[in-house]
Symmetry: C2
């Protein structure tokens, strides 16, 4: 069949995270043929991924098929594929299955993964949290640790099963630690006959001087107090120097002696590294990458000498260019990724019309992070004034902000019901572990 | 700590399917110490498992942690463990991790798995549907087949990706085939740019003379008509003689020549075999097993010469003993499993009180099966008369019966909302596939 789109400029978008999704949406109705390539079949609402890992939400509640999201946007073709190389000279991308796709404009939004700072051998002892598979793995480890403790006769080994360590005091680490404390103190008590889940230890280790370092100091302090109220032991300025199957080694601040924590369930929330595609792209175009592997982009998010290639989201090392201000680095958060996606799309249309591309300007609304039931911190930058608050009100604000931004009306309702039910019952309904048997699969 | 339960008679229940769960519940408040052992951490509402496999429901919607279900029943201890052997002389069960558990009374409710009739090599080409892991595997294959078709340039290979074969015309096969047809005809159209999902072929192969053989002939015929209306090609008296990665070989009725179907997604819904524990138990006790590996039990569900061991549910080859009637074989359906569980529990209490055990009497309420949206057949045996009906009313009856029996109030609401939403939108929200990357896990 003749394809009416074949004479239109071809736009390839790599990745359907926040950046790629917004870029594709911003091209709705435009005279371009968009191909959205992702190695999964779904857009993932990553800010709530920790809820899947802690059995509060099911996977479908925070993931929507990319194909479904664009069913009414006729100029978007969705493709399941893993981009392994970008050929900037030939203007084409290559998929893992050998297929090549030519483009006229390319938006690279391949995102980030977790980094073990060169210690990739730690990955199997301390899984990170970036994909749904990661979330299932953490869910399994958390729930099975309590099961193993229930069966363990030796007191010392039982204590190790009931010690949970979260490494990294950023938003994900704080959310994980707070939620683990709630599971131990509120969800599980009464269900075991040989152990008291409420006696579980939850430790949050942070290498820097405070948790939530993107927040102002008073909110960091508030977050730490709220964590401690939930029963989390927060240890700042504490670096992890070794991890194995049975625990980890910690270097505390100053000259205090290093010590060991016996723990069977360790979660990695410490490092973020850009997708390896960034390195490949830099090699292919002569662009530079920063220390985290992010590609340094021009003010308009394109690559030097390659106006047809833009990089957005967590893979981009970008500056915000607000009039009358010095350029400021853009943080790796979802609002920034979405805004970059829209700017990259707008610049494609500018170029098609022969107009100059616009510089990226990041509209920063502030920061928010949740700690647990009724606990959160909010740092809001309104056009009029800056508002900081914490506790219950901050939690309600966080809740509605996240539900509002969830993709798709249907999912919002489900998440709201799941949470309302979890709030009143203090239960977590997604406590399903599959693949316990060797030989069966996970879920 | 001293355990007040240690002087009570010890009851071990193996398996937390319908039979094991009901047995444990029926012992609520009784002066016994119950240990419920299962190799998963959840009770699975198996009648709706096909909905997870076809992306209509999330796993947590039909699975509840066994531990949570018994949190208020103080005489039940839940244990995550895989029973590998029963020692009827020493009166203990052995777990895969080497642990042994002594019992005074044992209820074996280990259930069934799918059987490939000696062709276990077919398992990787045609997965069956018994566990959540199975459901995720089928969900992945179905959704990825459409993705592969969208990318496939060769027409013949594309057709093979768009051919779905369900083997076995029992309730699960009928449900799977009907739902696959709905996905192809109603859910996916409009989302692809290179294929028309509505053109997918769905075949249902049944070796016997009709689908739903447990149903009266007129309802079987109605089910077949409803399937065909949905676009399913139903082929009865057709035996599968070979399966490989690219398709299968079919022997049609009479002397018609065998033929091949090119199909990349094949689902096995044909054979059921009892848990291997049945064979081990028979060897250990001198009991006999039937052709399907089920353990032949006494009228009171105990084993010959072993009144302390009962077998219930799909693992039992039992007879129903209604007064004034010949004993009749009990079918492998969930109401029968639940009733057997209750009888086994009651008989434990009878024996403790020195009373004679009661014979099992199966109260048969009839049969129901769904085919798809607005399509079902119901054969209801009320105390007054037998009622047969099909179509929309049967579907509504099926819907409410299943939601009513779902374990746990919270899940019922979620399932109801999921279905209401799916009904109006004709969408299926659980279309999430994880682990597409080699090296990551499933979900």
């Amino acid at each position: 069949m003749p394809d009416p789109a074949q004479h239109l400029p071809r736009v390839i978008i790599i990745g359907c995270g926040f950046g790629g999704l917004e870029a594709a949406r911003a091209l709705a109705g435009a005279p371009v043929a968009v191909t959205l390539v992702d190695k999964t079949n779904h857009h993932l609402f990553q800010p709530l991924l920790y809820q899947v890992a802690t059995a509060g939400l099911s996977a479908p509640a925070i993931a929507a098929p990319a194909r479904h999201l664009f069913r009414h946007q006729a100029n978007v073709t969705t493709l399941l594929g893993d981009v392994v190389a970008i050929d900037a000279q030939a203007r084409q991308v290559r998929l893992a299955d050998g297929q090549t796709l030519p483009y006229d404009h390319l938006v690279v939004a391949a995102g980030a993964t977790h980094s073990y700072f060169g210690r990739d051998d730690w990955a199997r002892f301390a899984p990170g949290l970036k994909t749904l598979s990661d979330a299932f793995e953490i869910r399994r480890r958390v729930l099975l640790a309590f099961e193993a403790a229930e069966k363990e006769a030796d007191a010392q080994r039982r204590a190790a099963w009931l010690t949970f360590v979260v490494i990294g005091g950023g938003p994900t680490g704080v959310e994980m630690a707070g939620t683990l404390a709630e599971i131990a103190r509120r969800t599980l008590p009464g269900e075991f006959r040989h152990i008291d889940p409420a006696g579980a230890r939850i430790l949050l280790l942070e290498g820097g001087p405070r948790v939530l370092q993107a927040m102002p100091e008073d909110l960091s302090a508030s977050a730490q107090r709220q964590l401690e109220k939930l029963g989390v032991e927060v240890r700042v300025a504490s670096r992890v120097t070794a991890i194995d199957e049975h625990g980890l080694q910690v270097q505390p601040p100053a000259d205090a002696p290093a010590y060991r924590i016996e723990a069977r369930c360790v979660v990695w929330a410490a490092g973020v590294a850009a997708s390896p595609l960034g390195r490949q792209l830099a090699d292919a175009t002569g662009a530079t990458t920063d220390r985290a592997g992010r590609v340094v982009v021009e003010p308009d998010l394109s690559l030097p000498g390659h106006p047809d290639i833009s990089v957005v989201g967590d893979l981009a090392s970008a500056q915000s260019h607000l009039e009358g201000h010095e350029p400021r680095p853009v943080p790796g958060v979802s609002p920034a990724a979405k805004q970059m996606g829209r700017t990259a799309a707008a610049n494609i249309l500018h170029r098609l019309r022969g107009e100059p591309a616009q510089a990226f300007r990041y509209r920063d609304w502030g920061n928010l992070a949740t700690i647990g039931r009724n606990s959160a911190v909010v740092d809001l930058w309104t056009p009029w004034r800056r508002i900081k608050f914490s506790g219950w009100l901050a939690w309600v604000f966080w809740l509605f902000a996240h539900i509002y931004f969830l993709i798709g009306f249907r999912n919002r309702i489900v998440v709201l019901i799941d949470w309302a039910s979890a709030y009143w019952s203090e239960q977590r309904y997604a406590r399903v572990v599959t693949g316990i048997d060797p030989g069966t699969r996970d879920g």
